[in-house]
């Protein structure tokens, strides 16, 4: 091979493949209640027909002894039905403690699971929250994967969830 082609070839081969990103902001609302408990929240990806694709996060009380916090996972009714009931908790990279009031962030990269295996198509990001001695709310954000351009999707909860922002960066 002619030497003058070697350098351009090297540059071509070493160009890094830019990974697409999913940036999620979930607002846990401040509520004026006598007895406040941080909500249980489940975040997952599903197909438009509600077929479960992947869990992104499950925030619940992991501190109680004898795993007693798991008793209330079923109150995340849709998540429990579509995924939770067939799982053994905790799950690495998905389970977490309950989050405080404010905008909670979740960041995913297409270089890692589950986005790595995500087939191109239409999806919905689902956020379900249930609060002890409180209510329950579920929000869905439809999106297309992979993103062709930077897109933002928003949803606004009315009781147990605040604003949900989904940013997709190609």
């Amino acid at each position: 091979m002619p030497k003058r082609l070697l350098l351009p070839l090297c540059v071509l081969l070493s160009t890094p493949v830019l990974a697409a990103e999913l940036q999620l902001k979930v607002e846990i609302p401040r509520l004026q209640v006598a007895e406040y408990h941080r909500p249980y929240v489940a975040i997952w990806l599903e197909q438009p027909d509600q077929k479960h694709v992947a869990n992104l996060a499950v925030w619940y009380d992991q501190k109680l002894k004898d795993k007693e916090g798991e008793k209330w996972l079923k109150d995340l009714r849709q998540w429990w039905r579509r995924s939770g009931r067939s799982l053994e908790m905790p799950i690495d990279g998905v389970s977490g403690a309950t989050r405080a009031v404010g905008k909670q962030r979740l960041s995913l990269n297409s270089a890692d699971a589950p986005l790595k295996q995500l087939e191109p198509g239409e999806y919905r990001l689902v956020v379900e929250a249930a609060r002890e001695v409180g209510g329950r709310e579920l929000l869905r954000l439809p999106f297309t994967w992979p993103p062709q351009q930077a897109t933002t999707h928003n949803a606004q909860g009315s009781s147990e969830l605040g604003q949900i922002n989904l940013q997709l960066v190609p």
């Binding site: 795993k67 007693e68 209330w72 996972l73 429990w80 009931r85």
Partner: protein, 287 residues
Amino acid sequence: MHPLVKWTALTLAICLPLSAQAHRAWMLPSATVLSGEDPWVTVDAAVSNDLFYFEHFSMIIAGVGDVSTQPAGQRARQAAELLVMAPDGSQIKPQNGAIGRYRSTFDLHLTQKGTYKLAIANSGLFASWKEGQESKRWMGKAEDLAKQVPANAKELKVTQNNRRMEVFVTSGNPSTDVLKTTGAGLELAPITHPNDLFAGEAAEFSLLLDGKPAAGVEVSVIPGGNRYRDELGEIKTTSDAAGKISITWPHAGMYWLEAEFTTREGVSAPATERRASYSATLEVLAP
């Protein structure tokens, strides 16, 4: 006839769901969908009109509570046999049983993951006849008929009864082993899992009589909470040629399902009619 026996027979006759107008006998679980590592359920069992309110009699179940504390009429009633089948097919016993004025209560410790089935089933003969002006009734096992009913009884009518009452409860992921039917009497073979019911969705069930698909069975589904509304809210349907029924739940809550089938065909003597019934308490969740 000894007054107690007469009272018993009358009480038994009243308390049995012989027709659509009679009282309903049901079990009500505290939950049917459970998560966590150590779930329990508490079950109420009662005979009453309204769903699901306790206002008539408690259901006497063998092994649940101390029946000697009950008034004479209650004590004389035949105790129902409760069978609780765990996901692995073994039987578990009710715990912390108590009999109250209007309801019996017991707890179940769900140590396995999967679906449990609670069932109360009985079968026997029911005979009615006349002695002079007096109407007589008797209910019991086929082998006792000759002893209890006079041979030359006037206007004798003997009916073969099969009754089954079921409740399904799931800890964790639903399983299907307990859904297997026994092949005796009127039974429900679920197509949709009974602990996977959601408002707005259609659930499919299959009705079997002695293990074979039962067509033309009348089914009534009533949502609980009828104390706080005027209409009964009854959903009526009939099983098709394949024994199938489909129910779309209008809203979330506890529902009572009752299926009844009466026939004069293929009935073994001395019975001339056969009545088979099945009932279940089903929980429908909000989506």
